[in-house]
C-alpha cells in the first residue's frame, strides 16, 4: 500500500520506501512505504506488537532496516546523524532520563546539546506542567516524568516531532497535556509530527494522515478525510430475501440482522451503490463510520483473508 500525493507542494519530512526489518526469521516490518509531508500530523495506528515501534526506531536511526530506504528531513538515514538529531525530537514510552538528576539539571543538561534551545518555552512549560525543579527524576510520578520528556523534546524547537506511544499508560489529565501541547506545536508553521498510538480517539482528533498497521504490514494509508469519505456503513431492510453482497468489490464486512443487513464498505460511491442495487438492495441508508470501526474491520478482514488463503 502506498500514498499518492499528486499536486501536493510540500516536501516530505519522512519518506520510507519498501522498508523491512527481520529479527531472525520473524518479519517485524514488511515492505512499508509511507510519506509524511511537512507540516502534517501522521498517526500510526496498530495493536500492540503490530510493528509501530520498530518503524519509528528505524526512522530515528536506532535500529537498522534489513531492507528498504528511509529519508528524514531530506537526508538519507546515516548521512548526517548528528544534524538530524538536532532537528528531530523523540519521545517514547521508555523515557530517556537520568534518575539521579533533578528536573532543573535535566533541563540544563539537555539544553547544552541544542543551539536552538528556547529558554522561555522551557520555563513556560515547567510552569504550565507544575514540575518541581528541585525534585530528582527518580522521585517523579509517571505523569510528571512524561511531562518532563515532552518539555525536553519541545524546548529546542524541533522541525519534526516523533512520538512513540506517547500517552500509553498515562492518566487522562497528562494525556490532555500532551495533546494540547502537540496541537499548539502543529499550529506553529512548518512543524511535522509522526506519532504511534493504539488509542483511536487520539489519532482521530489530531491526525491529518492515518496509517493502519498490522503484523508489520501497512494495510491502509490515506488522509483521515479521504478515509472517512470512502468508508461507510450501509444499512437496509432485507424484506424476506437476503441479497448476496459479500463479494461485491469494496464490501469489507456483512452483518446479518433478523430483518436487515449492515455492510461496512471501504470504497463508497455510485459504482458500489449500483452493484448493490443489482443484487437487490433497496433504499439503503448510508451512515458515517468511526475510525475505530474502520480500524477493527480492516484488521479483521485482513486476518480472514489470510486464514482463507
Amino acid at each position: 500500500m502506498s500514498q499518492d500525493f499528486d499536486n501536493i507542494i510540500y516536501t516530505d519530512a519522512i519518506e520510507t520506501r519498501n522498508l523491512g526489518r527481520k529479527f531472525g526469521k520473524f518479519e517485524a516490518v514488511k515492505d512499508v512505504s509511507l510519506r509524511v509531508p511537512r507540516g502534517t500530523v501522521f498517526g500510526l495506528l496498530g495493536v500492540n506488537g503490530a510493528g509501530k515501534s520498530t518503524i519509528i526506531k528505524m526512522v530515528m536511526g536506532h535500529l537498522r532496516p534489513t531492507s528498504g530506504e528511509i529519508k528524514v528531513l531530506g537526508r538519507t538515514l546515516g548521512e548526517d546523524p548528528l544534524g538530524i538529531r538536532r532537528r528531530v525530537a523523540y519521545v517514547s514510552e521508555n523515557r530517556y532520563l537520568y534518575e539521579w538528576m533533578t528536573v532543573e539539571e535535566s533541563v540544563r543538561f539537555t539544553r547544552a546539546f541544542h543551539e536552538t534551545w528556547d529558554d522561555k518555552k522551557a520555563t513556560d512549560l515547567l510552569k504550565r506542567f507544575s514540575l518541581p525543579p528541585e525534585k530528582k527524576v527518580r522521585q517523579l510520578s509517571r505523569g510528571n516524568r512524561a511531562r518532563l520528556c515532552l518539555l525536553l523534546a519541545l524546548s529546542f524547537n524541533p522541525e519534526l516531532i516523533i512520538l512513540d506511544e506517547p500517552t500509553s499508560g498515562l492518566d487522562p489529565i497528562v494525556r490532555r497535556d500532551f495533546i494540547e501541547n502537540i496541537v499548539a506545536e502543529i499550529a506553529e508553521e512548518g512543524k511535522t509530527v509522526l506519532f504511534s498510538s493504539h488509542i483511536v480517539d487520539e489519532v482521530e482528533r489530531v491526525a491529518d494522515y492515518v496509517g493502519i498497521i498490522n503484523d508489520g504490514e501497512l494495510l491502509l494509508v490515506s488522509t483521515l478525510d479521504d478515509i472517512k469519505a470512502c468508508y461507510k456503513r450501509v444499512r437496509y431492510a432485507t424484506n424476506g430475501t437476503r441479497p448476496e453482497v459479500a463479494n461485491v468489490p469494496g464490501v469489507l464486512a456483512v452483518e446479518n440482522g433478523r430483518h436487515e443487513q449492515v455492510l461496512t464498505v471501504s470504497a463508497w460511491g455510485d459504482e458500489t451503490l449500483q452493484r448493490l442495487g443489482e443484487r437487490g438492495v433497496r433504499n439503503p441508508e448510508v451512515l458515517p463510520i468511526s475510525l475505530e470501526d474502520i480500524f477493527v474491520n480492516t484488521v479483521r478482514a485482513e486476518r480472514e483473508r489470510r486464514a482463507n488463503s
Binding site: V183, A184, E204, R205, V206, D225, N283, L287, I289
Partner: protein, 135 residues
C-alpha cells in the same frame, strides 16, 4: 464557545465544528460581528488538529457564515443568520428522508405517505408554535 467533539461519531471533525457553529448562529447564541476564537485557540481548546479547525473556518467563510478581517481575527457575518436557513432546510431534508425511507420499507403507498405528511403538518400547525429546540 462550547463545541462538543465526538471523534467516534464517524462524522469528520471539521464538519462537526462547522455544523455546531452554524447551529449557534441559527439559535442566536452567536450574533453578527461576534468574534470567533483563533484557529490555534480553538484547536488547543478542543484538542484537535489546527488544520481541522482551519478547514471548518474555511468552509464557513465560503458559505458566508463568518468572515476574516485582516489582522483582527474572524467574525460572524451579518448574513450568517440568513445563510442558516439553507442549513435548517438541509437538516429537515435529512430527517424527512429518513422518515420516508422507513415508511417505504414499512410498505406504505405513495398516497399513504403524502397523507401522513399532510396530517402531521396540519397537527403541528394547529397545535401552535413548536416548543423551542432543546427544551
Amino acid at each position: 464557545m462550547f463545541i462538543n467533539i465526538d471523534p467516534s461519531s464517524g462524522l469528520p471533525i471539521y464538519i462537526q465544528i462547522a455544523q455546531q457553529i452554524k447551529t449557534a448562529v441559527a439559535m442566536g447564541r452567536l450574533q453578527p460581528e461576534d468574534p470567533l476564537p483563533s484557529v490555534r485557540q480553538l484547536a488547543v481548546e478542543l484538542a484537535v488538529n489546527p488544520n481541522t479547525v482551519a478547514r471548518a473556518y474555511l468552509d464557513l467563510e465560503i458559505e458566508g457564515v463568518i468572515y476574516k478581517r485582516q489582522g483582527a481575527g474572524t467574525f460572524v457575518s451579518s448574513q450568517g443568520v440568513e445563510m442558516s436557513k439553507g442549513e435548517r432546510r438541509r437538516v429537515l431534508n435529512e430527517l424527512l428522508e429518513k422518515a420516508l425511507v422507513e415508511g417505504v420499507n414499512l410498505g406504505l403507498s405513495e398516497r399513504e405517505l403524502r397523507e401522513a405528511f399532510e396530517r402531521t403538518l396540519e397537527k403541528i400547525l394547529h397545535a401552535g408554535a413548536p416548543e423551542p429546540v432543546g427544551q
